[in-house]
């Protein structure tokens, strides 16, 4: 048996849903906000606690874009590549950030877990295109240069 006290926080979340397995998605959402991602051991723990096959949890976790099975960085940069942003040249911004952070199409998070870079398909703020979002904060009418400045500022604040 898994040691329950190993994940008291998770148990709290499960208890919040009365260990009802039909609330799996909501549970996963809360776990993701607590850990920033869905750790494998935690999913195993849930599987035994609410008696759902681990394969089913994996199925749900890989189906929804919003769930991540990999640890994410402290700062999540979402860059919009919807039609409006694309037309207003979001790709050069994306490429610049990738280069700056040493990321590529299969590596989305920096080794120091400071940044995760994601593209999204419209943030619903087309009037502000091209847009990036850093931990929920909107940066409007970006250029490669202004994007670099945002990253630089974060890095400086972090190293203080």
């Amino acid at each position: 048996m898994l040691d329950k006290s190993k994940y008291p926080e998770v148990d709290g979340i499960l208890a919040g849903y009365a260990y009802n397995r039909s609330a799996l998605i909501a549970m996963l959402q809360e776990i993701q906000s607590a850990y920033n991602y869905l750790p494998e051991e935690v999913l195993e723990h849930i599987s035994t606690e609410i008696d759902i096959p681990l394969s089913k949890i994996f199925s749900v976790a890989t189906f929804y874009e919003n769930f991540s099975l990999e640890p994410k960085g402290k700062y999540i940069i979402k860059i919009c590549d919807g039609t409006a942003c694309h037309v207003k040249k979001s790709i050069p911004i994306l490429d610049t950030i990738k280069k700056e952070l040493g990321l590529n199409s299969s590596k989305h998070t920096t080794d120091d877990f400071l940044f995760t870079l994601e593209t999204v398909s419209c943030l619903g703020a087309c009037g502000l295109a091209p847009v990036i979002l850093v931990n929920g904060k909107v940066y409007a009418k970006m250029t490669p240069e202004s994007a670099l400045a945002v990253i630089k500022e974060i890095k400086e604040n972090e190293s203080k």
Partner: protein, 566 residues
């Protein structure tokens, strides 16, 4: 619902059929399907079963309820075009190495491609090759051949309650896989193989031991002994066009001799040993009023399931080895000195209806003799392939008798092949009334039949004994939960993982419909009726063994880790 409908212009009555696919098949039309299995829930994903109504509307017949006055067509030009297109699209993403595929000749995709005259696939294959999972000793999973029908997922979840497989990812990246893509030997898979019985393609197949078997059979330094499980004799004939349930033991023996086996025996003999040991254990539990209910242990898929899911229950699972392992342990012990003198090695190959037996034989604790007690397991289907490979005309073979001294077995031992058989065999032994009337009473006590959970009540020496017989692990799980909650009380519970018991094992010829399983079960009871020895204790081999090598070696027949660990 009751009514009638027009199918391709022919009037067909329906009465209670759940969907029009059933009605269509009743009308004698073999509508193609990938994702429909009567024992699983409706999934409606493959669209092969579509039909057209009189207004040109298209619907999946497996998920459409019959209505009175419906008018449908099953083979219009439009439908044919759609079906071909679907097949082509499936084939576009499919490994097309048919000639070297394990499933060739039995593959539904291949069959339908032939049937619908697909001569060319217009689309390029663009998917990356995914790794083949060879980790299990029972099954091989090749995701490159998967058509995403979900049959295995539903079998594993709905019938077996295991959930080792599920869909993952989405869209074009969708796959059927294990949690975190772990090797299947590393997850909760219990090796029952039922997934492979419904997989239409070569994506899930039995792990092949045929080549290893030929190797030892052709090695002069090996003395190769076969044991044939009860359920094999009532099913292998299907591979050669015989009726399901035909008892072909004599032909199997003849075929094995021609293939080079030095001696051929019947696992039913070891089943008799199991009956003796398990009865003794059960009688002891009854007397002391402990470890009740006692669960059977001869199904390795159930055993693994219990270990994983109900570890607290393991002490109530019989310590008896399964017949396969008892046979191996006894044979290796018996022949030790003879073979050592000859400088030859004894190799035990069992012929089993079961993929989990491959796993059981490989478990590290099953090595009384220092090496594996059972060296190799060949399923019914593999044996049929070997017989065909060697060009042996099975149906023409003269029946031969098994070898002595381990050839004798009782009808009770043969009963192990069908769900309820272990319970019935144990009761035959424990019942002090040894008349024919008592045999008949036991046969009608309630352990026989196809229902998922069966109950029986028997008087043993003035005490009422309650018995449950369950098959399909999902049914077993539900029953165990009720027992734990105190809602049900039993003294003895027989569990077989496969629906129908071993006759429905995943090593048997496929497809296995409910009808086929019934006939195989009938075959088992016919074999019992035809045997002169009815009860395990009357088997002279057993008597001789207890006076001989087993005299002070009962522990050979039991698992030991129980005493050590708990």
């Amino acid at each position: 619902m009751k009514g009638s409908m027009l199918i391709d212009g022919q009037r067909v009555d329906f009465n209670g059929e759940k969907h029009i696919l059933e009605v269509i098949r009743k009308a004698g039309i073999d509508l193609p399907t990938f994702c429909y299995h009567s024992e699983l829930s409706i999934y409606g994903a493959c669209r092969m079963c579509m039909v057209e109504d009189k207004w040109g509307g298209i619907m999946a017949s497996c998920s459409t309820v019959p209505k009175d006055g419906m008018e449908i067509y099953t083979n219009t030009q439009k439908l044919k075009k759609h079906r071909k297109m679907i097949l082509e699209l499936i084939l576009a993403n499919h490994d097309r190495d048919c000639t070297v595929c394990e499933k060739t000749g039995r593959c539904i995709l291949q069959e339908l491609a032939i049937r619908f005259g697909i001569k060319k696939v217009r689309f390029d294959k663009d998917e990356k090759e995914l790794p083949v999972d060879n980790s299990s000793v029972s099954i091989v999973r090749n995701p490159n051949k998967c058509i995403l029908c979900g049959d295995c997922v539903r079998m594993c979840n709905e019938v077996q309650g295991v959930g080792a497989l599920d869909f993952a990812y989405r869209g074009a990246k969708m796959q059927v896989t294990t949690a975190f893509n772990r090797p299947i030997s590393n997850v909760n898979c219990v090796n029952c193989g039922q997934c492979r019985t419904v997989c239409p393609t070569g994506a899930l197949v039995i792990k092949r031991d045929i080549d290893n078997a030929w190797e030892v059979l052709n090695d002069k330094n090996k003395f190769v002994i076969a044991q044939i499980a009860p359920a094999v004799r009532v099913a292998i004939g299907e591979e050669f066009g015989l009726e399901p349930g035909s008892v072909t033991m004599g032909k199997i023996v003849a075929a094995l001799r021609r293939m080079g086996f030095n001696q051929v025996y019947d696992t039913s003999m070891a089943a008799d040993l199991t009956v003796m040991e398990e009865s003794r254990e059960f009688a002891g539990c009854l007397q002391k009023g402990e470890r009740l209910p006692l669960f059977t242990s001869c199904c390795p898929a159930w055993f693994k399931y219990a270990e994983q899911k109900f570890p607290e229950l393991m002490e109530q699972v019989s310590t008896c080895l399964s017949p396969q392992q008892m046979f191996g342990a006894v044979i290796k012990e018996h022949f030790k000195t003879d073979r050592e003198a000859e400088g030859r090695e004894t190799v035990v190959i069992s012929i089993m209806p079961c993929t989990a037996k491959k796993y059981e034989a490989a478990r590290p604790e099953n090595r009384n003799s220092g090496t594996r007690d059972v060296d190799m397991v060949i399923t019914t289907q593999e044996l049929a392939m070997m017989i065909k490979e060697n060009g042996i005309m099975f149906n023409e073979l003269e029946e031969e008798a098994v070898d002595m001294p381990f050839g004798l077995s009782s009808g009770a031992g043969v009963l192990f092949g069908a769900s309820g058989g272990v319970a019935e065999a144990v009761l035959r032994h424990l019942c002090s009334d040894k008349t024919i009337g008592s045999l008949k009473n036991l046969a009608f006590a309630g352990t026989r039949g196809m229902e998922g959970v069966k109950e029986a009540e028997i008087e043993l020496d003035g005490r009422k004994v309650t018995i449950a017989v369950v098959h399909g692990l999902k049914n077993a799980e539900a029953l165990v939960k009720m027992i734990k909650a105190g809602e049900k009380q039993y003294d003895f519970v027989e569990v077989m993982a496969c629906p129908g018991g071993c006759i429905g094992g995943a090593g048997q010829p496929v497809p296995q419909s409910a009808h086929i399983k019934k006939q195989r079960t009938k075959g088992i009871y016919n074999a019992d009726s035809g045997s002169t020895i009815k009860r395990s204790e009357e088997n002279p081999t057993i008597i001789a063994l207890y006076e001989g090598i087993l005299k002070d070696k009962h522990e050979l027949l039991h698992r030991h880790e129980l005493n050590k660990e708990s």
